[in-house]
Subunit: 277 residues, 2 copies
Amino acid sequence: MDGRLMDKATTGAGETVLGAATSPQDARRAFRGGVVRPTCGIARGYAQANMIMLPREYAYDFLLFTQRNPRPCPLLEVLDEGSPYPTTAKGSDIRTDIPLYRIWEDGKAVDTVDDISDVWARHDDLVTFLIGCSFTFEFPLMDAGIPVRHIEAGRNVPMYDTSIACAPAGRFTSTMVVSMRGIQPDRISDAVRISGYYPRVHGSPVQVGHPEQIGIDDLDHPDYGDPPILKEGDVSVFWACGVTPQAAVMASKPDFAITHAPGHMFITDVPDITYMV
Amino acid sequence: MDGRLMDKATTGAGETVLGAATSPQDARRAFRGGVVRPTCGIARGYAQANMIMLPREYAYDFLLFTQRNPRPCPLLEVLDEGSPYPTTAKGSDIRTDIPLYRIWEDGKAVDTVDDISDVWARHDDLVTFLIGCSFTFEFPLMDAGIPVRHIEAGRNVPMYDTSIACAPAGRFTSTMVVSMRGIQPDRISDAVRISGYYPRVHGSPVQVGHPEQIGIDDLDHPDYGDPPILKEGDVSVFWACGVTPQAAVMASKPDFAITHAPGHMFITDVPDITYMV
């Protein structure tokens, strides 16, 4: 798959077409059935979430990390230790309902899987953190007539490691990961204003137009997701990204972690507007 | 003192007049010197904070409690275990710079003091939580021509226990505490809108005009702070309050805790506008 969308994916139950009109329940059912694709553009109007699971011994330090870094890590929910059942999506199971997961050991991604039930069974003290995702404000941007290039092209959003330091917390330290969208100059203000209404899903951009000042040398080769599409005159606009916890895992090397694969989010039942200020 | 303001307070260094024009540094210096009074109306433009300290063994559960209850418990800062030095106020010391503290044992307030240096010395693993305060949006309300009755009268804000359940987290459970301001009907919308821009300091009200529906039987006798002043036609408007952690302490009975005394806040150096969306 490697980040490219399948508009039609085959599940055990037959053909599933996922798009803006798909309900969160149907989308999660498709992922549970084996569909693997990024979730941008799916289930319009419902908040999506980044996910990281850590053993209980790391949970306080990580919770503190999110508190100290609310731009990249705005928490939507923290599950009780050992519980796989999010309250933000009734009837869901965090072990099966994300399209693609990454397994981490000592800060290295050791596997990519579409179901973590068997891995979970070997770890009885995992704490699951759900973190807001910028996909939530992409529909409002499009509603305001601001094109979102990667959705138009059926791709995953481009994401980059940066030189922006996060505030450390206990054993966790990291630089910030950002997502990028190309915006025409006369719409930058609107894009800032509209995304700013959603602080629980990263809010307004962290930087506009100067990738080299935040340590991004080559826009064409993102560290996560798909290469960007920039149209004539587009300015690169950068938002804090919920993949930052994965950079924190790489930098801080907890002995075990599970995350979503970048762009492959958990789709909640919570209307986007719940997180609007 | 019992909640009433002293406009002029005597410190060891002489007479100190605290008001809107006082800097956060001067206000903290006065409190460090022994001045005891509520902090509403002081140091215009700088965020004030509720405070709770807990032994490390309770810190994860409480941090989770704040994450699950962001309306009453929006975190501004969590200090490292054993550190009394907030980064939100350079040069400050959390053991001396709050006007009045409460000491709690097994869920009961056992003492009220203006300096906790000696108590702190006997507890080497305290974690300090600073939580946003509605005093932050009172100046913007007044700037918009909405009178804030308790400030006009030189009183502490009235606060009430309610029947609104907080989401439990580990060993912490609580009902929500709210602050109340009387607002004329034609300004309620503005008061909601303006406070809503400040989600990090409780944001928009949790209820308008029907105290009996949230378990408040007698507006004239608040559970914390001073009795309210309601002018002809005022509607009672209720905001989530950072005294909620004290209700959580009473309900959950950690063996030890220290909080600020209601209305007697920690004044930070962070401009209010930092927390505006």
